[in-house]
């Protein structure tokens, strides 16, 4: 096994996801299959190769930092599952 069920549970918790026990069995097997396939990459020597994380040659795009009209507070809050007084409402944290 490339990944144990315990590891899958740990990854689930990092992903903020939970799975029923039978779902966990299925996803563990599927992740294993995928990781075995992905192992193919180990057949390729990449020592000294720079990692590429972007598809074109641009490095940075600068613009002036100007204040512009954008969404009003009301518009920004329109989709909030819960809000109060123009602010997002979440369960008590502290």
């Amino acid at each position: 096994m490339k990944i144990t069920k315990e590891e899958v549970s740990h990854i689930a918790s990092l992903s903020r996801l939970s799975f029923e026990p039978e779902e966990l069995d299925v996803i563990s097997l599927q992740l294993n299959d995928i990781l075995i396939y992905i192992e193919k990459l180990n057949g390729l020597d990449t020592s000294g190769v720079e990692p590429v994380t972007h598809a074109h040659d641009l490095v940075n795009a600068f613009r002036d930092d100007e204040v512009k009209e954008w969404l009003s507070n009301d518009e920004a809050m329109d989709n909030a599952p819960q809000s109060d007084n123009g602010q997002f409402k979440v369960p008590r944290i502290i």
């Binding site: 903020r16 996801l17 996803i27 995928i34 590429v52 599952p81």
Partner: protein, 488 residues
């Protein structure tokens, strides 16, 4: 002319009729809406039909035309993949987690088309968050292939492809992260283009894998594709990855010859695993192009076999990070019953996301986790560089690359849903292009022995969108009439 007869016309032909006053946008839009009512119950391309918005838009467009302010898409009814934000119009990403999300702004591409007076008919089905190759991962319903309702339309832009093929929109927009425009275009017998990375602003495109995602046109003809690319392309201050290089008039490249230009055919794409009908289609296209004066050259992209592996680390890694925003706080679904903040996050996400999305979030989180990062994400990023270099070398020897789009014609609904890896491998010929950020266009080529469309793709060099259009358009003329989609 009946609705289907009218709607079979290209956007360019409709433009002429609209400008001559032979039809109005209001009539054309009504024809689309009638056609949707008639045909879409079989195809299921639309998640949302915006009847009122479309009719209102058509009246505005007719006013523009009357005043002589007509532009290429004024009054043309189009559909949008439901991954593009539309102000005031529900945008779901085919996910339960966004099922009631109403964006407060338009994506840049939507804004640009609206400014031209394009009529927006509604939002088109897709695999949830654009993750899939069959549109079966939609949280709502699968879309059917209009050529054969037992088959998938391809994905993830399956609704966009199926609606153009079944004449329920005159053109549509899709998005392509690993083939999601080109593969459904190929399966549905239409033109679909993934522009070069940076060519089209991604602002307002719900992010899947930001370094791979591109929005592109899905149309009946290459000229329509060029026309639509003209409307949506160009840098945008709101997308810092949009490219500042100037855009040529893409329509200008649709009537050019390709005599003496070199077409590279990658050895690795024509090997085993390729369905015989697809192989014959590509070979047929090659010989036609050669007879027409193109120079055909065998080339090699030696690291092709590693592309799917690299992609299924990189795309899920970016997705796992991008999709962390769905936490039930600012917008979207929030679970109803929870103990504390962490419990709210977990329940919201576990109830809101479908199986494939969860699988990819898990795969991405794993690839980025400490202890695995070097072996997975970093390794895949190095391989990405090697694959991009393969293309660079190949373009020293040719002007364009010709390749199959998908290894087989459209498969049957349910055929691959139990085996995610099998589904991933259906993108083997489209994924390398996204890793390298190149432009590519799928154009209909032939029908399979069972009557399903097969497309071929022209892959261009960095920012060489115009070359893709030039070759695709030339080939389209050479090919002549393509079969008619049988749905009625």
């Amino acid at each position: 002319m009946d609705d289907a007869g009218l709607l079979r016309l290209s956007c360019l032909e409709l433009r002429a009729l609209l400008d001559k006053g032979e039809i109005t946008s209001f009539e054309l839009t009504n024809a689309c809406l009638r056609r949707i009512e008639e045909v879409d119950k079989k195809v299921n391309a639309y998640i949302t039909v915006d009847r009122d918005g479309a009719l209102m838009g058509s009246k505005k467009a007719d006013e523009m035309i009357r005043k002589g302010e007509s532009r290429p898409f004024t009054g043309i009814p189009i559909g949008l993949k439901d991954v593009l934000c539309t102000k005031g119009l529900r945008t779901t990403c085919a996910s339960k987690i966004l099922k009631d999300f109403i964006p407060p702004y338009d994506a840049t591409v939507v804004e640009r088309l609206r400014a031209e007076g394009a009529v927006i008919l509604g939002k088109l089905n897709m695999d949830e968050f654009a993750m899939g190759s069959s549109t079966e991962n939609s949280a709502f319903f699968p879309t059917k292939n209009p050529w054969n309702l037992d088959c998938i339309p391809g994905g993830s832009s399956g609704g966009s492809a199926a609606s153009v093929a079944s004449l329920t929109s005159c053109a549509s927009l899709g998005s392509d992260t690993g083939g999601s425009i080109r593969q459904p275009a190929s399966h549905c017998g239409i033109v679909g283009m993934k522009p070069a990375y940076g060519r089209v602003s991604r602002f307002g495109l719900v992010a899947f894998a930001s370094s791979l995602d591109q929005i592109g046109p899905m149309t009946k003809t290459v000229k329509d594709c060029a026309l639509m690319l003209n409307s949506i392309a160009g840098s945008d201050i709101r997308d810092s990855t949009s490219h500042p290089s100037p855009c040529p008039d893409f329509l200008d490249y649709t009537d050019r010859d390709i005599k003496g230009m070199t077409i590279g055919v990658p050895l690795e794409y024509m090997s085993e695993g390729l369905h015989n009908d697809v192989k014959e289609a590509v070979e047929g296209a090659i010989s036609k192009l050669e007879d027409a004066g193109a120079v055909i050259k065998e080339i090699t992209l030696p690291h092709t076999e590693y592309a799917v592996s690299a992609y299924y680390i990189i795309a899920p890694s970016e997705a796992s990070s991008n999709l962390m925003r769905y936490d039930g706080v600012k917008y979207g679904f929030r679970a109803g019953d929870y103990d504390d903040l962490m419990d709210m996050y977990i329940k919201t996400r576990s109830m809101g996301f479908g199986q494939e999305v969860k699988r990819r979030i898990m795969l991405g989180t794993f690839s980025l986790a400490s202890g695995y990062y070097d072996a997975y994400y970093k390794k895949a990023s190095q391989v990405r560089g090697i694959i991009a270099e393969d293309f660079q070398k190949a373009f020293n020897e040719c002007d364009i690359i010709l390749a199959p789009v998908a290894p087989t014609p459209a498969f049957r609904l349910g055929e691959k849903t139990d085996d995610p890896l099998e589904m991933y491998l259906s993108d083997i010929f489209t994924i390398p292009v996204n890793l390298a950020g190149l432009p590519a266009i799928s154009v209909p080529c032939a029908l399979s022995s069972s009557g399903l469309p097969i497309g071929i793709q022209f892959i261009g060099p960095q920012m060489g969108d115009h070359l893709c259009i030039q070759f695709a358009s030339f080939y389209e003329r050479l090919r002549g009439n393509f079969g008619e989609c049988p749905i009625s």
